[in-house]
Symmetry: C2
Subunit: 466 residues, 2 copies
């Protein structure tokens, strides 16, 4: 993308209403604009990151064998009356009356609706196990929305639902979700720690939250530093293998890690003192096993192999897609702006032309741009007639992890400059070497996007993520 043809309305002033770094930086970098309290428009740069995050979530869900679909935003009230949550949910539910005076609501979550789909279409153990998910806009009418997309009212969320014949199978679904979430967050450059949690209004016995460590987090967290050394990395996980998934879950849940809600000071005291950590965390996901909490009242039953009718075992599993943008920025920024992890950056590389209008510099930039595109990368070329300082400030603010700087002086020596946004370090390279270097940096990220067959022929994604 050429910046001269893009819509990137960066702000010079720090918006007064923004209390935390991510909110401030998303406004300043022209990523979002508030439409009303807790409701945002995603300007082109913000939209790109939102879609990158959504794409990673899809890929990792599909890799784990889960099936994408889409439920609507507006739900009928009667399903919620059936489950008993309509009155229980409180004023955070946005209640709507349509022109025929029917009670509707803007879905804050989808347990009822997915259970209704299941009971309509599935009646045999033969169709189990089944995990369906969607990524859809939700609404929670927060009394005091704040912190930008971190605590918005209209927010984008992945919520998935597993249906299993028995407890063991449902716990495998739980474990599979935990493993797929670990991989999802790692690909976004985040360390998200699973912590035993309270179940809240969803209900259920087993539940873990995933928390990203950041000073601005809403929860106080207590953990054994051993957990921050764990990495899934490029491990090849067979999501059909119950033992393998359970083993990874054991690995991540053995070190102590709790939020203030579930904190147990006695158990924490058993952690060796030098590994005891207290910090703050941002919740970016949660998984639940809740058994037959919805299937019993709503009659979601299946016939077993020996002819019994039993309620199906369920769980639900959420990732806050729009919230993740805020969490990533909270975990990765500095005074000058955002520092995007390579996995979610809106553009892979910035190109700054130090002397726009100079034939040689323009030509070199054009060639670099084309060569990066040909390698499957998306560069952002600042081709405006601005001074170098302003161009650097914009690139730093919007946080592209790599920048190529091109000017007549360097070109005379046959080099361009490659700069890391994170370290600030630069190196001079020939244009060809710089292109190779950037392509090499992104190679593992492009490869990670390929959903491998976790079971021969079961699931794959092609150039689209379906």
């Amino acid at each position: 993308m050429r910046l001269s043809r893009y819509f990137l309305p960066v702000l010079k002033e720090t918006p007064a209403e923004a209390q935390i770094a991510s909110h401030r930086l998303m406004l300043r970098a022209g990523m979002i604009k508030q439409a009303s309290a807790g409701i945002y428009s995603w300007l082109p740069l913000g939209f790109r990151v939102l879609k990158k995050i959504e794409q990673i979530v899809h890929e990792e869900q599909i890799r784990a064998g889960h099936i994408p679909m889409l439920m609507p935003t507006i739900q009928p009230a009667d399903l919620w009356q059936e489950s008993g949550r309509y009155n229980a949910y409180g004023p955070e539910m946005l209640r709507i009356r349509d022109r025929h005076d029917r009670d509707m609501l803007y879905g804050p979550t989808n347990e009822e609706m997915i259970t209704d789909i299941f009971r309509t279409h599935v009646s045999s153990y033969k169709d189990l196990p089944l995990t369906l998910y969607h990524i859809q806009w939700k609404f929670r009418d927060e009394i005091r929305p704040r912190f930008g997309v971190m605590r918005g009212r209209e927010f984008y969320m992945k919520d998935g639902y597993n249906f299993d014949l028995d407890y063991d199978s449902a716990i495998h679904a739980y474990n599979r979700h935990m493993v797929s979430y670990l991989r999802t967050y790692e690909r976004m450059g985040l360390q998200a720690i699973p912590m035993r949690a309270d179940s809240g209004p969803i209900g259920g016995e087993d539940t873990h939250e995933f928390l990203v460590l950041a000073e601005t987090g809403e929860s106080e967290v207590f953990y054994d530093s051993a957990i921050t050394d764990l990495k899934l990395g490029s491990r090849d996980v067979d999501f059909d293998d119950r033992d393998a998934c359970a083993e990874i879950v054991r690995e991540w849940t053995t070190p102590y890690a709790r939020t203030d809600e579930t904190h147990d000071p006695h158990r924490f005291a058993e952690v060796p003192e030098e590994r005891r950590r207290t910090s703050r965390g941002i919740e970016v996901g949660q998984i639940f096993y809740f058994g037959t909490k919805y299937s019993e009242p709503m009659g979601a039953m299946v016939n077993t192999a020996d002819g019994q009718r039993v309620p199906v075992h369920m769980g639900s599993h959420g990732i806050g897609v729009s919230r993740l943008l805020g969490a990533i920025i909270e975990a990765s920024h500095d005074e000058a702006g955002i520092i995007w992890p390579e996995g979610v950056t809106p553009f892979h590389c910035g190109i700054v032309n130090l002397k726009q209008g100079d034939g040689e510099a323009d030509g070199a930039c054009a060639k670099l741009y084309q060569a990066l595109c040909d390698r499957g990368l998306d560069p952002l070329y600042d081709d405006r007639a601005e001074r170098a300082g302003a161009k650097f400030a914009t690139m730093d603010l919007i946080g592209l992890p790599w920048r190529l700087t091109v000017g007549p002086r360097g070109l005379k020596n046959g080099v361009v400059e490659l700069t890391s946004r994170r370290t600030g370090e630069s190196e001079e390279l020939s244009p060809e070497a710089a292109i190779d270097r950037v392509a090499q940096i992104y190679d593992p990220h492009l490869k990670a996007a390929n959903v491998q067959h976790w079971e021969p022929m079961a699931h794959r994604s092609s150039h689209t993520w379906l």
Copy 2:
């Protein structure tokens, strides 16, 4: 995808509530489930087609130089009071009151919100021309929703907005949209005819609707059959070239084509009698030029090069993404089910194993499946232990354009059968030749997905569509 692991709840019975073919077939093929009147869940198969259509719309918008972003579903009422449309819109607008008693609404369209974004961030002619678009869920509280996704209440729409300094530039934006829409519909296997239309509640002078010919269309249409011979095909369009775009628009708007709303019997009588056609049509898109209708009352002004402040010229341009599924099915089905055009089919090819459990047949299917995947295609392999007739009926119902049938008898002769859903014709081929043949069929469709640079380095999409 293996059917045994997918969620494809096909119905044997024809649902009584469905009055038209697309509604009936989408329910029977397990593509949608009604959540409440005019509101649908998109089951996995329906979701795949929805995403394919969305993807084509994105690719063609980006090819034309338009910039994707995303506005929220819930809007504040005050923007609509500013434009004067809040009271004018009537009961189709879903009005909502939040917990603080603020008046909100579920957006039926986004002229006000995009104008607000524009006026906040753009003030100079230097930032023009600019075209922003999004694909987002909309709501219109139809008094009598019907025909499935064709006249739903919650629907998915692409709406784009151009901002130009003067009339000529805005008309070029209008023309650019018409050309990009022609290409968009062609890629979906549709012939959508642009017809001069009434502007309705959006307002404006110039407007064309795009109509797909189908018996169940809501509009009566009158046209010169010469228009149905026109094809954009693989023409390489430079979307920056005003004359080139205007010439294509002239080509498509010269033959008579009107809906009943704008029909002019005198002009129609001038069409040679043998080319005069009367039919019915389904509206799948509309483009508008409305000048300063929103920019004047809302104060969206820009400074010109000579220091004047002038209201910006605007237009809006919509494609009914969810509605298109219905329109495509209306235009392409038979007694047995849907017949998907190759451009939007949920899976490229079905594989039917005539003897599941037979080692040789299973092995041959597995190899075919893998080979198709390796060519970048998505096959659907019916690996259930069902009789052949049931497998064929399912494949015909869900409408995959190509089917490979694999059985022990054919394998003994070294062949599998490739069948066209559209013609019913089969040919026997070696597995290798069959794979080549299917790959060849889809080659132009995979190539069409590559967004070429319409202006050197201006816009591109990579493996994602951003």
